[in-house]
C-alpha cells in the first residue's frame, strides 16, 4: 500500500510541475525572509559608489542601484518586512473575517442580515481603495499598511465563512451532536469549524498573493517603511527614476513580486482541488 501511495504521489508531482515550482518559489522566499545573510553577502544599506548602476552580472545578480547597493541583497533583505506585513494582513483578514462569518452564519436572523449588509458595502469598494483610505487615517509604517490591507480583505473571508457555516450547519452530524446534548460552542469548534475551514484556508493562500500585491502597491506609493530600509514595493518605486538607464532596478524586484503572487495562486488552486476531493 505504502509503495502505491508514494508512487501515485510522485506521479502526481510530475503531473503538476507548476505546483512544484510554486512551492519551491514560496520556500525560497521564506528562506530569504528568515535568513537573508545566507543568500547574499552584500550589505543592503551601504553602497559602493564606484559600482553604481551596474547591470545584472555574476557579481550582482540583479545589478546595482544609483548608490551602488546590490539590488538582489535589497530584495532578499526586504523580504522579511514585506512578508511580515503580508502574513499579518492575511492573519487579520482570516481571523476577523472567520469570526464575523461564523457569528453571522451560526446566529442567523437580524444579526446575520446586518453583518452581511455591512459586508456588501465593504465588497462594493475596491479593496486597494479601502486600504488607501485606511492607511491615510492610520499613518505610515509597515504594520499600519498590513492592518489596512488586512481590514480591507475581511469582507471576503466573512462572506465565504458564512456560506460554509450555513452549508455545514444543516449537516446531519451537526444535528446529531446537538441531539447528543453538545452545547453550541462545542458544536461550532468541533463540528462546524473543521468542516467549514477548507475553502477558507484556500482563500487565505489566495489572499496571500493579493496581499503581497497590495502591500507592495502601498509601499510603492510611499506608505511603507522609511528609507533606506528596503521593501519590495519601495524598491520598484526607487528604480522608477532610472527606468531609462537601469531597467533592472524596477523589473527584477517586480518579477519577484509577480512570481510570489502567481505561486500563491497556484498553491491556492491546488488546495481548493484537494478540498473538492480530487
Amino acid at each position: 500500500m505504502a509503495d502505491i501511495a508514494t508512487l501515485t504521489r510522485s506521479r502526481f508531482l510530475l503531473r503538476s510541475p507548476g505546483l512544484v515550482l510554486s512551492v519551491l518559489v514560496v520556500a525560497l522566499v521564506l528562506g530569504w525572509a528568515l535568513a537573508p545573510s545566507l543568500f547574499t553577502g552584500y550589505d543592503p544599506l551601504a553602497g559602493i559608489p564606484r559600482q553604481k548602476l551596474k547591470g545584472p552580472s555574476a557579481a550582482h545578480l540583479f545589478g546595482t542601484d544609483e548608490t551602488g547597493r546590490d539590488i538582489f541583497a535589497r530584495v532578499v533583505h526586504g523580504t522579511g518586512l514585506s512578508l511580515r506585513a503580508t502574513v499579518l494582513a492575511v492573519l487579520i483578514a482570516l481571523v476577523a473575517g472567520s469570526i464575523i462569518g461564523l457569528i453571522a452564519g451560526s446566529r442567523g436572523g437580524w444579526l446575520d442580515s446586518l453583518i452581511m449588509r455591512i459586508v456588501d458595502v465593504l465588497l462594493a469598494v475596491p479593496s486597494i481603495l479601502l486600504s488607501l483610505a485606511l492607511v491615510t487615517a492610520l499613518g505610515f509604517g509597515t504594520t499600519k499598511i498590513a492592518v489596512a490591507v488586512g481590514v480591507a480583505n475581511v469582507a471576503h473571508f466573512a462572506r465565504l465563512m458564512r456560506a460554509e457555516v450555513l452549508r455545514v450547519r444543516t449537516g446531519v452530524y451537526v444535528e446529531a451532536a446537538r441531539a447528543g446534548g453538545v452545547r453550541w460552542p462545542g458544536v461550532l469548534t468541533r463540528h462546524v469549524l473543521p468542516n467549514a475551514s477548507g475553502p477558507v484556508l484556500a482563500l487565505a493562500v489566495l489572499t496571500f498573493g493579493v496581499a503581497v500585491l497590495e502591500i507592495s502597491s502601498l509601499s510603492f506609493l510611499g506608505f511603507g517603511a522609511a528609507p533606506p530600509a528596503p521593501e519590495w514595493g519601495s524598491l520598484v518605486a526607487g528604480g522608477r527614476a532610472y527606468l531609462a538607464v537601469a531597467w533592472w532596478m524596477t523589473t527584477l524586484p517586480g518579477l519577484v513580486i509577480a512570481a510570489v503572487v502567481l505561486a500563491a495562486n497556484r498553491i491556492s488552486r491546488a488546495l481548493e482541488g484537494a478540498n473538492r476531493g480530487e
Partner: protein
C-alpha cells in the same frame, strides 16, 4: 424477435487501477427479455453495466472478455462508434434521479435534446415528441410537466423523465441501474410495471441492475446473482429463487426481509407508557407536515411508524425528540410535559432520548475519529473515563476497539451505522428513535443491524420509535405499528394485526406493493 441474442457478455473482467472489480462474467440478454443482475454494493453489478455501455469511470479498464451487441463487438468502438450505439441502441436509466437531471433546464427540453442529438426530430417537432415520450413514460399531464424544472417534480416523476429520455432514441436495450431504489414502494411498483409494459410492447430488452431480490423476482425472466465480481448463480427467475444452488444466494434470500419470514422476536404486549404524543401538529410556513397525531410508546417496546416520503413520520419523530417544536399538541416523556422545554433543561433531557439517523455517511463528522464521535455525548455532559466507555460501547455494537482511532471514511456503511448506534447509546438513554436506520444498507447488513437493535433492546431495556418506509423491515422488529400518510396517522395497532389484517386500504396497498410478494412461496 423474442429469441434472438441481443447482448452477449463472455468472460468479462474489469479492473480499477489493477484492482479487479468484475471477474470472468458471462451474461446473455435476448430481445424483449428482462434480465436482472442482483448483488450487494461492491459486487460489480454496476461496473458490468457501465462496461456494456462504455462508460466505465476513470481508472476502469476491461482486461479480458468480449461484449457483443447484435453481432458487433462493443469494447473496441471509437468515440463516434459509441455515439451511434449509446441512446439509439443501448440506453441507460441512471440510478439517482435527483442528480441525473440538469437542474436549470425544463425537463421537456432535456428529453427533446436527446431527440435532436439522435436526429429523430428537428427543432420544430422535438418539443411535441418530447411531450409524447413523457406520456409514454407514464407521466400525467405531460404538457404541464414538460415546462417544469426537475426540482418541481417528485422523485418518481423525475425517474420517469429519465426513462422518457432513455426511450427517446428507441433503443433495443435499456440498462436500468437501480432505477427505483430511491423511491417509495408504491411509486417503485408503478415505475417497474411501466418498464415491464414497455419492454413487452416494443420488444425492448431490459438489463435491470438491482440490490433487491424481491424486485428481481417480480420482474425478471432471468436472474444473475453477483458477489465479489463473480456471477455466482444464473438461471430463470423462478428456479433461482425456488432452489438457490449457491450458498451466497441462499444467504441473500434468508437476509431479505419479507412478510413471510419470522420476525426477529415475537411482538410483545404493551406495558407502562414512557413517551406519549397527543394531538401533535406541525406547520411549516403554511404547509401542514403533521396533523393531529396521537400515540403512546410503552417502556421497553418498539413502535414503528411506517409511511412513504413526505408522510410526516420523520417530522413526528423530531417533534418527540424536541429537535422541532410542535405547532399544537403535547409531547410527554416519563409523565413530564416536554412540549415547550428550553435551554439547559432541554439539554439535560437529551441524555434520556437519542436518535440514530438514516444515512450513516452524513451523520458522522468526517474529521473526527470514531473514538471522539462515540464519546462526544459523554464529553458534552462532562462524564469521565471516556476512553474506557468508548471501547465498551464499540464492544456493545460488535466492533473491535481498534476502530477507535479510525476515521468514518475508512468504515463500511454497516460499520458506520454501528458507530452511530454506539454514539446514541453513550449516555445510556431510555428512548432511542431510529430514523430509517437500515434503508441505506445492503440486505445482509440490514439483518445484522436489526438483530443488533433487538439484542440491545433486551439487554438495556430500551424503548424504540422505529421509522421506516419498508413494511417488511418493520415486521422484523416492531411490537406496534402506526401507518402514516400526508401527515395523518391512518392506522395504529399491534404489529400482527396491522400487517396481517390491515383495516385501512392504504395499508393494504403498501403491503401489496412490497417487492417479492408476487412469488411469496419463493421468498
Amino acid at each position: 424477435m423474442a429469441n434472438s441474442e441481443l447482448l452477449a457478455i463472455r468472460g468479462l473482467s474489469v479492473s480499477y487501477r489493477s484492482v479487479p472489480a468484475v471477474r470472468d462474467v458471462d451474461l446473455t440478454v435476448h430481445s424483449g427479455q428482462i434480465v436482472a443482475v442482483v448483488g450487494e454494493s461492491g459486487s460489480g453489478k454496476s461496473t458490468t453495466a457501465h462496461a456494456v455501455i462504455g462508460l466505465l469511470p476513470r481508472g476502469g479498464r476491461i482486461d479480458t472478455g468480449s461484449i457483443t451487441y447484435a453481432g458487433r463487438s462493443l469494447p473496441g468502438l471509437s468515440e463516434r462508434g459509441w455515439r451511434s450505439v449509446r441512446g439509439r441502441e443501448i440506453a441507460l436509466v441512471p440510478q439517482d434521479p435527483t442528480v441525473s437531471l440538469n437542474p436549470v433546464q425544463r425537463v421537456g427540453r432535456q428529453v427533446a435534446e436527446v431527440l435532436l442529438i439522435h436526429g429523430t426530430a428537428d427543432r420544430k417537432t422535438a418539443p411535441a415528441q418530447a411531450v409524447e415520450l413523457l406520456r409514454r413514460a407514464g407521466i400525467d399531464e405531460p404538457e404541464l410537466r414538460a415546462r417544469q424544472y426537475p426540482h418541481e417534480l417528485s422523485g418518481g416523476l423525475r425517474q420517469r423523465v429519465l426513462i422518457a429520455a432513455a426511450l427517446a432514441g428507441r433503443p433495443k436495450l435499456i440498462i436500468a441501474d437501480e432505477p427505483t431504489s430511491a423511491l417509495d414502494v408504491t411509486v417503485q411498483r408503478q415505475i417497474l410495471d411501466h418498464l415491464e409494459e414497455l419492454a413487452a410492447e416494443s420488444g425492448t430488452a431490459v438489463l435491470l441492475i438491482t440490490h433487491d431480490l424481491g424486485v428481481a423476482a417480480d420482474r425478471a425472466s432471468r436472474i444473475a446473482v453477483m458477489s465479489e465480481g463473480h456471477v455466482v448463480e444464473e438461471g430463470s427467475g423462478g428456479a433461482v429463487l425456488a432452489a438457490p444452488a449457491d450458498p451466497y444466494t441462499r444467504r441473500l434470500l434468508a437476509a431479505a426481509p419479507s412478510l413471510a419470514g419470522e420476525p426477529i422476536r415475537p411482538p410483545r404486549a404493551p406495558g407502562e407508557t414512557l413517551v406519549s404524543a397527543r394531538g401533535l401538529t406541525k406547520d411549516f410556513s403554511g404547509r401542514t407536515a403533521v396533523e393531529q397525531v396521537s400515540f403512546d410508546i410503552p417502556r421497553g417496546r418498539t413502535l414503528a411508524l411506517v409511511g412513504e416520503s413526505g408522510s410526516g413520520k420523520s417530522t413526528t419523530a423530531r417533534l418527540l425528540l424536541r429537535l422541532e417544536t410542535a405547532t399544537a399538541g403535547t409531547v410527554s416523556f416519563d409523565g413530564e410535559d416536554i412540549t415547550s422545554l428550553r435551554g439547559e433543561r432541554l439539554r439535560l433531557l437529551r441524555r434520556r432520548m437519542q436518535l440514530v439517523y438514516q444515512n450513516p455517511y452524513a451523520s458522522l463528522n468526517p474529521k473526527l475519529t470514531i473514538g471522539r464521535i462515540v464519546s462526544e455525548p459523554l464529553r458534552a455532559f462532562g462524564i469521565g473515563d471516556r476512553k474506557r466507555r468508548a471501547a465498551e460501547l464499540l464492544d456493545q455494537v460488535a466492533l473491535p476497539a481498534s476502530m477507535l482511532t479510525r476515521k468514518p471514511a475508512e468504515l463500511s456503511g454497516g460499520q458506520r451505522q454501528r458507530v452511530a448506534i454506539a454514539r446514541a447509546l453513550a449516555l445510556r438513554p431510555e428512548f432511542v428513535v431510529c430514523d430509517e436506520p437500515v434503508s441505506a444498507l445492503d440486505v445482509s447488513v440490514q439483518a445484522q443491524i436489526l438483530r443488533l437493535l433487538a439484542d440491545l433492546q433486551d439487554e438495556l431495556g430500551l424503548t424504540y420509535l422505529f421509522i421506516s418506509h419498508d413494511l417488511a423491515v418493520v415486521r422484523q422488529i416492531a411490537d406496534q405499528v402506526g401507518v402514516m400518510r400526508a401527515g395523518r396517522l391512518l392506522e395504529l395497532g399491534p404489529a400482527d394485526e396491522v400487517l396481517r389484517t390491515p383495516r385501512h386500504e392504504y395499508t393494504q396497498e403498501l403491503l401489496t406493493a412490497i417487492p417479492g410478494s408476487r412469488t411469496p412461496e419463493a421468498a
